[in-house]
Amino acid sequence: MSQPSSATAPVRRGSAPAPVATAPARVAPVDLGATPAEVASPAGSTPARLRRLRLIVVASGVVLAILGTAAMALLTLTLRQAGNDVEQLVRVQTIETDLLVADANATNTFLVGGLESPQRRAAYDAALAEVAALVPQAARAQPADAAALAALNAHVLDYTGLVEAARANNRQGLPVGAQYLRQASNGLRADALPVADTLVRADTERATSALSTGWGWVLPLLGLGATAVFVVVQVRVARQFKRRVNAGLLVGSLVLVGLSLASLVALVALAVSVSAARSDFDDVNDAGTARVQANLAKSSESLTLIARGSGQPYEDSWRASGAQVTDRLSGIRDASVFTGEWDTYAAVHAKIRSLDDGGSWDDAVGLAVGSGQGSSNAAFAPFDQAVASFVSGTGAGAVASLRGHQAGLVLGCLLTFLAGLGAAWSGSRGIAARLREYR
């Protein structure tokens, strides 16, 4: 749509004659001798410029509609993924904890002898049943974890097979049962736990990178950019016409300013909420890891006693786990309850160690396998339960808060799209009104 001069373009539909009609109104007092460039062909250039401005206005509105909506959609999907990732992290941490709970119960039972306590057996079965349910669930929820979960599953099968062999031999009073149990525990630590650790690490990274409002901030930027375009066009149009204000462009600008401000306010609110969810997630991660380490320590306690005098490596492992528990708990808000309960258990453990080191192996075992007042199991249970319910509660809270924004975000996508198109339409109408004056 480029014409060298509009006067020689009668072929153009509709608007071609318009410049002729309006020309006198605009440039009446012009002296024939000194014609400024823009006035030399006044009739042709103004509508063309108006059309170009209209194109710019429409384009910026449409671009805002498309890119803004895309950014909002990305933000929506990112936050939905963040919710899923947090859920998945809780899931894989639960799997790892359950494996250690099962092992702690199996080793504890072995300390008693062939006749295992029904409670310990039930706890072992419950932990493995939960693993069996969670592994396929986790593989469905995050297909990227599927291969690692399949490998983990194979190790779990090995583990349970060995524990059953240990149990059958123990039941007959054969010492080879102890060897099967040792192989099961060592295999769990050497093969299964590294896979579980990898899963936890991968899902922590995914959740960390997804817990962000980054893409949302594109929207107010785009909105302000489009507003600026509208204002510039408005100024240009006002310069050419007597009327200062073009209603259509003004409405469009107001819509854009409204969109920018509203999205800015909403994003700030969202960022606050996401950062709260992120801090919840950090707590869940810390508490979940603390629970994994605590159960590892509990199983090490039994293995130290089983090794009977040559269990120093297991006691070293208990110390390392204990240090991690304390370290991770210190990262949690209001961790005093947990640290108090952990210290209670650690005190019982210290007593077991001093009994065993002092030669009273039987008393140490009594303290370790009993479930009465002051026993290791009785001291450990409240800590484990408190952390478990904190992890599942806080994790579910974070996920719910992330999911709670979904409806608002979808509405935001829709409004962004409508606002962009609406601004384009309104601006276009505003300029069209001026163009009509040339008809």
């Binding site: 010492p175 080879v176 040559s310 075992v365």
Partner: protein
């Protein structure tokens, strides 16, 4: 006219640029696979050729026995007096060598032929056969445990050898075992020579493993941390045979009806001695005095009958003590 086109082109360029910056966001949906860590490599058996054991004529020669004083009258400053002061005898034993030293899953107590000798020594030193503390060790930990002072005594089917005499001291011989092979029911192997090309298990750091590598280099030697560990591998089909002392094999065969010890001549002589720190010669002399008493008064035979009369047949005469080593 190109100037007029400038604005739409600029717009288009901006749009394309913006799209390009938005695209990486799609990485959110193309999640990286979680890497599966490679399973930990199982320790390769150290079937590496080991030097043939030093040959000598006096592997069973120990220190002459001292007077067997009562526990109330131990020489002051002696190792026995220190043990008495501590209140318990620390002994390194096995908890999974059935019949020799194994934990009974029903009672939770470690018991066996070796443990009965620990009890006899506890009675001699402390006046009470229950004042002992067992430290469960693997075969490979026997010498380090004595050298570090972690235990006073090792009673864990330990063969007296010239190599070991350089590091620790032994009591007089308290049992004469011999190395044999154990195979699966239906196997035609009868001797070590028949096991060429087969996978044979023995615990690492034992004379059984040394003998296997030395006498049948064509067998595939597979190591484990204990003989019971070998039995697990045997039951899992990972090895074809186990070699070890007849006492140990008797304990393994008793746990698996499909494992048989074919009728065979032992291909080595394995004199068992109680291990003691090389510095504690007074303790060795004291232990020898007690062992001499047990041989003479029939206690040795009683202990043998308690554990081995079934699987190994009636008690032979106790091994003869050889003295004459000088400190």
């Amino acid at each position: 006219m190109s100037a007029r086109r400038g604005a739409p082109r600029g717009l288009l360029a901006t749009a394309v640029l913006t799209l390009c910056t938005l695209l990486p966001a799609c990485a959110v949906f193309g999640t990286d696979q979680t890497t599966v860590p490679a399973p930990a490599a199982s320790p390769t058996p150290t079937a590496a050729a080991q030097a043939a054991p030093a040959r000598c004529a006096d592997a069973t020669t120990s220190y002459a026995p001292s007077d067997l004083t009562s526990s109330a009258d131990l020489p002051p400053g002696s190792t026995m007096a220190k043990i008495k002061k501590r209140g318990r005898l620390l002994a390194g034993v096995s908890a999974d060598s059935y019949l020799l030293g194994a934990r009974d899953p029903l009672s939770g107590k470690i018991q066996g032929f070796d443990i009965d000798f620990v009890r006899a020594m506890a009675k001699a030193i402390l006046g009470d056969e229950n004042r002992y503390q067992l430290v469960v060790i693997t075969a490979a930990q026997r010498i380090p445990a004595l050298q570090s002072g972690q235990v006073d005594l090792v009673a864990r089917a330990m063969t007296m050898s010239c190599d070991r005499w350089k590091q620790i001291a032994f009591s007089s011989e308290y049992y004469r075992a011999g190395q044999k092979i154990m195979v699966r029911q239906g196997s035609r192997a009868r001797t070590l020579a028949d096991l060429a090309g087969q996978r044979v298990c023995a615990p690492l750091g034992t004379s059984s493993m040394d003998n296997l590598v030395r006498l049948q280099p064509r067998a595939v030697a597979v190591g484990s941390d204990s003989h019971t560990g070998c039995l697990v591998l045997f039951q899992q089909g990972k090895v074809d045979a186990i070699t070890g002392d007849d006492t140990v094999l008797a304990g393994l065969a008793a746990q698996d009806p499909y494992a048989v010890v074919p009728k065979q001549e032992p291909f080595t002589a394995e004199p068992y001695g109680l291990g003691v720190n090389a510095k504690n010669v007074d303790l060795v002399r004291f232990v020898n005095a007690r062992l001499a008493q047990m041989r003479a008064d029939g206690e040795w035979t009683t202990i043998y009958d308690r554990w081995f009369v079934g699987p190994l047949g009636p008690a032979p005469a106790p091994p003869r003590a050889v003295y004459g080593r000088s400190a």
